[in-house]
Symmetry: C2
Subunit: 429 residues, 2 copies
């Protein structure tokens, strides 16, 4: 037990910041027992001082400027919960590090864009930078990967890590409504970020994936190399066709080190409905970690919200109170390598859907194009004829994405389909 | 980076010990990067020096006596992988602690029986005692509970933590064979401990539950208070009846702090087939942790085997190399309270099966007994008459275990059933 309390300064008193204040107030004794010392809030900062935040902050010093707060002598740890890849979040974190203070943040955007620079700076100044809450909310996945599974060579990391997208996709299936209706619903419920592209464009989930990749493979965070595809193009019909064949569509992140470089992609995929990933409902997140000794570990839990996110923040704060010291991404930042991004993703089966003309010879033409692209067919489904076209679904055997692209282009040229054919990867999970 | 390697001494070179040697040899560079220093094996110990272990141990000093090895000046960490609650495992761990060395062990029996004494001794001598591999094999659940979720008041912990029992139960359902046939199969496959009661009697899983309880609730390990019930009494018929009603039978551990004391039980339960716990196949383990901030987190992974268990051991070793220092059960041993064991478990619905005489009035008599015990019925199933008796299944509404016991006794006295009625708890997971 140390007599010295750990004093934190909280920058940002929104959903997560208020959650942290609540835990510190409610569990003072428990936290002291577990951390081996008192955890105290020295100061807080947010935009508007007078906002009623539903929690009493009158005992803490107020700072208008988060950078000034980060530099205070009585702040041992900056808890950054403002958000944004640049601006005050970055400035405050940099100021804290420069002053040799530790940092806990929930800010995936900041780390996805500046993780390497911040990690280098932190190690230089003897600061520890932790970010459990930035990935998969309350699930202690950063800890599992950086610490618990550190004896493994990690072979693959997968995750459903944007609750809003998973909410939209599972609600489309449940309510038989299209994407736009569910987007509106998610918006009304306040599930979408101010810039919805962060969610439905896969950017937020891509940020998270880039952080997991770095730890898993000892590489510098490379968000720009994440192949991003959002969920806006997913049609109800695809969700329902997939379901009939025993699949569900998830916005799935996959990171793996291949012979051709580091593959990082965040895109809608079909996964078996009976798999743990397939069964994920609503806002719940799931991360799958595969390593050479462990085999596979699956972690599942709430991906967002006040309590879960604050729980992750407090886990980091308690670690720091206990004296934990680990490089930001698990190995010293200077040793993180610049991974060559894989130019082509590993082959997989694909789901292909098209509206085929209900004319003699149409199917033969499409089959010929697939054959020319070297794609062999595992299963085919053709539906009742709503002439003049009928939906046709192919499930291919494993093939390369460029074969699929060649085939899609070729199918367009046959003039026997209406609209553009759709292809979605089937991930073997 | 430290120039000083962390030197480990491995006592026990069986399944897990050999796995640890393999990881240290295979991943020397990776471990050094992650741990911040070299991890070296200084010495090893086992019973027979000449056994071919499939891995080269000629570079390491051999010690016949694990206690002597624990005391060596060139051993910083004793890695105890011999097993057994007493004998050489206990002696070696005590010797290491007395010498101020850290200890990593996979030995749940040792900790379930002597955890409190060892934790006190370790803290007195400045040793750190870690045991990730002792609970749920490769799943980093001790870390999740002690560190990642340390900001939560834990409300409930549940787990399927004996792979052999889960193998037997899921194979009974898949192959329509009875318990004895599958027990034999598990035996032939080498899945059973030398004393099979440790597995099928629920003892091994009970050990694990008692360790999780201690961390979750800040209480002294109290294995004797775990209400233990094995799987030997589970009949194929119960598994199949449960399946038809949408349940599966699992050997489920539940620990929760109630108004009436600490409830710890390890017993067969019905869980919804569609729940994560219900979907668990074969040797896979699952732990569910519920806390006031996080809500629910589910961790799933391999519960045993060379690679997964060695992975957990290495996670602990790397933590020690990085300087992690946490009390054994998350808070200082002297602060762990002696929890009052709950005398009665929390109410739940129950599954009751009996062979009812195929005579007028028989059902009325049973229904009367249930009513007198204050038990109300949610669902009832009666099967085709294989006179002179027919199986009847009741699913009750929530009631107390003593109401069930009263009813079972009363039903016996009615003389309208043949054999003893069976009652299995339905756990709301
Ligand atoms: N919400 C979640 O479930 C969740 C989950 C995982 C990670 N995160 C991450 O956690 C962080 C915070 O999220 P949140 O949902 O809590 O955000 P939020 O509710 O929008 O709160 C943001 C807070 O930051 C303050 N702030 C914004 N700009 C500021 C500035 N220039 N100077 C000082 N304070 C400023 C705001 O002040 P005012 O209140 O005065 O406007 C507000 O208190 C983000 O990085 C987010 O990505 C959130
Ligand atoms: N196996 C798993 O999957 C698993 C999973 C989780 C936890 N665990 C735990 O890990 C521990 C080890 O399990 P295991 O499966 O590796 O056991 P194991 O294969 O039976 O190996 C035990 C080892 O301990 C050595 N040993 C036994 N008594 C000894 C003594 N008196 N002095 C010196 N060495 C002695 C044996 O030596 P010889 O080889 O010379 O006979 C053997 O190498 C146990 O506590 C177990 O509960 C195991």
């Amino acid at each position: 037990m140390s007599d010295k309390p750990l004093r934190i300064g909280i920058a940002g008193l929104g959903t997560v910041g208020v959650g942290v204040v609540r835990i510190v107030r409610k569990h003072a004794k428990l936290l002291e027992d577990r951390a081996g010392r008192k955890i105290e809030i020295a100061a807080v900062s947010a935009r508007s001082r007078d906002k009623d935040r539903g929690v009493d902050i009158s005992h803490y010093d107020w700072e208008d400027d988060p950078v000034a707060m980060a530099r205070r002598d009585d702040v041992d740890v900056l808890v950054e919960l403002m958000g944004g890849s640049d601006g005050p979040a970055k400035a405050a974190v940099e100021a804290a590090i420069a002053a040799g203070k530790h940092v806990v943040t929930a800010n995936k955007a900041l780390l996805a864009h500046h993780g390497q620079a911040l990690a280098l700076a932190a190690e230089k100044s003897g600061s520890v930078l932790r970010f459990e809450a930035a990935v998969a909310g309350g699930i202690p996945v950063i800890k599992a990967l950086t610490e618990g599974l550190a004896g493994n060579e990690i072979t693959r990391v997968m995750g459903v890590m944007n609750g809003t997208c998973n909410y939209i996709l599972t609600r489309m299936e449940a309510t038989h409504q299209g994407y736009n209706a569910l987007f509106e619903e998610a918006h009304k419920l306040g599930y979408l970020e101010a810039d919805p592209q962060l969610d439905v464009g896969g950017i937020d989930a891509g940020h998270k994936l880039s952080l997991l990749s770095s730890i898993a493979f000892g590489t510098q965070v490379d968000f720009d190399a994440v192949e991003l595809e959002g969920i806006e193009q997913i049609e109800l019909q695809d969700i329902e066709e997939a379901a009939e064949m025993g699949y569900r569509i998830k916005l799935l992140g996959v990171a793996q080190m291949t012979g051709r470089g580091l593959e990082q992609r965040m895109s809608p995929c079909l996964v078996p409905a009976a798999s743990p990933l397939g069964q994920l409902e609503g806002g719940t997140n799931m991360v799958v970690i595969e390593g050479d000794a462990i085999g596979q570990v699956v972690l599942r839990g709430p991906g967002a919200g006040e309590g879960p996110t604050a729980s992750a923040v407090m886990g980091d704060v308690i670690d720091l109170a206990r004296g934990l010291s680990i490089p930001t991404f698990g190995i010293p930042a200077a040793k993180l390598t610049a991974a060559r991004p894989a130019k082509a993703v590993v082959p997989a089966p694909y789901y292909i859907r098209m509206e085929l003309d209900d004319k003699p010879g149409a199917m033969a033409k499409v089959a010929a194009v697939l054959g020319e692209a070297g794609i062999s067919i595992d299963r085919m489904r053709q539906h009742g004829h709503h002439s003049p076209t009928a939906p046709v679904i192919f499930v291919t055997h494993k093939c390369a994405r460029n074969q699929i692209d060649t085939a899609l282009e070729g199918i367009g040229k046959t003039k026997v389909v209406s609209g553009a054919p759709v292809a979605i990867r089937i991930e073997e999970v």
